[in-house]
């Protein structure tokens, strides 16, 4: 029986400073803010597109200020960190068993990176 157990409280707002892996986790999760914000930007751009050429041009002009550039840069960095961290853990979440062997994690990750590159190039050339 426990006589007088001592409970060490975990600080709710600063626990992630305690280990580097927690910091990396929080950095990874914070990317969701930029992905969300960028998605809302897409929603707005779609709305302006539906409102006609002048409205759409207004949207593009607003994007072209220094804040627009900064935001897109931050969103790009966040998106890349999200992609790499997401692809790197896919073998853990979806192991592929062939008979007695498992497909090596590196192959699963590599395949994702390859598809990412191909898809990105396709969309890039569609957009430019």
């Amino acid at each position: 029986m426990s006589r007088n157990p001592y409970v060490r409280e975990v600080p709710k707002t600063s626990w992630f400073f305690r280990q580097p892996r927690y910091m990396r986790y929080m950095a990874r999760e914070v990317t969701s803010f930029f992905i969300g914000a960028f998605s809302l930007l897409l929603v707005v751009s779609l709305k302006r597109l539906s409102e006609g050429p002048e409205a759409f041009q207004g949207f593009l002009d607003a994007l072209r200020g220094p804040w627009g550039v900064l935001f897109c840069l931050a969103a790009l960095v966040a998106a890349v960190y999200h992609s790499t961290s997401w692809f790197n853990v896919t073998p853990q979440a979806m192991p592929i068993q062939r008979g007695e062997e498992f497909v090596p994690g590196k192959m699963i990750v590599g395949a994702h990176y390859a598809v990412w590159a191909v898809v990105s190039l396709i969309v890039l050339f569609m957009g430019i």
């Binding site: 426990s2 006589r3 007088n4 157990p5 001592y6 409970v7 060490r8 975990v10 709710k12 626990w15 992630f16 305690r18 280990q19 892996r21 927690y22 986790y25 999760e29 853990v89 073998p91 853990q92 979440a93 979806m94 192991p95 068993q97 008979g99 007695e100 062997e101 498992f102």
Partner: protein, 247 residues
């Protein structure tokens, strides 16, 4: 034979006299080939017989000697002195109440582990005369990794969600449920789902992955939990969108 003078900073807590834990430093002459457990045993044998800690096999199979060593959850018998500087801080595993010195209260883990029904629940009653369960090597490989868990609880010490939400079932318990769910001889998944697919079950997990990083047996509980999430999600959509389909 290389010798080092190690300053072992050990957390002390006497439940009968202390209101708070404190640190006590011992100077331990270590051989570089030693592990932290050897240093602790030296302290207990030669310097201070009152230091309390759990240990047994000294070879990373029993799971008894889990501790925080310089802030990292490790088995004391697997923490090699040559990996550390001359100052080594030893504390009880995080996220567990301290019973005494380096001994933690593990009732929470034991209860949660038992709650996932960590035993074979055969699909149908089979008399002994019907013979053994047959299982192919491929069927074995589907769950073998998750059998390696030695219940050392380092994953609980590492998991920040367990630290923030003590109701969380935790990595080892859910991985053990997964081990049985994946076993071709087992038919108890529905029963286990009631426990592991609850709010305090797998859905508290946010895939930090710390559990898998500290696991000394490479069980990869994080992977097991993600697989449970995927399976539970597919189940949920089947149940709610296709209620006519048999499981």
């Amino acid at each position: 034979m290389s010798e080092r003078q190690i300053q072992l900073e050990v957390l002390r807590y006497d439940p009968e006299t202390d209101r708070e834990p404190r640190f006590q430093t011992y100077t331990v002459p270590c051989l570089n080939e030693w592990v932290v457990l050897d240093a602790l045993n030296y302290v207990k044998d030669n310097l201070d017989t009152t230091v309390s800690y759990r240990w047994s096999c000294h070879m990373a199979v029993c799971g008894s000697c889990g501790m925080m060593i310089n802030g990292e959850p490790k088995l004391a018998c697997k923490a090699f002195i040559h990996e550390y500087p001359d100052q080594i801080r030893v504390e009880p595993m995080a996220h567990f109440p301290i019973e005494r010195d380096l001994v933690t209260v593990v009732e929470d883990f034991i209860t949660k582990f038992a709650s996932v029904k960590p035993y074979l629940i055969p699909k149908e009653d089979k008399p002994v005369s019907a013979g053994e369960f047959k299982q192919t090597p491929a069927e074995l490989m589907k769950f073998k990794q998750y059998t390696l868990c030695i219940n050392c609880m380092l994953c609980y010490a590492a998991c920040p969600q367990y630290g923030l939400v003590p109701e969380f079932l935790g990595p080892a318990a859910i991985s053990m449920a997964h081990r049985y769910n994946q076993d071709s001889r087992d038919g108890g998944r529905d029963q286990r789902q009631e426990v592991i697919a609850s709010h305090e079950g797998v859905w508290e997990c946010s895939f930090v992955g710390a559990c898998s990083e500290v696991c000394p047996k490479h069980v990869d509980p994080a992977g097991a939990l993600q697989q449970v999430k995927v399976a539970s999600t597919i189940d949920w959509y089947k149940e709610h969108l296709m209620p006519w389909s048999k499981k």
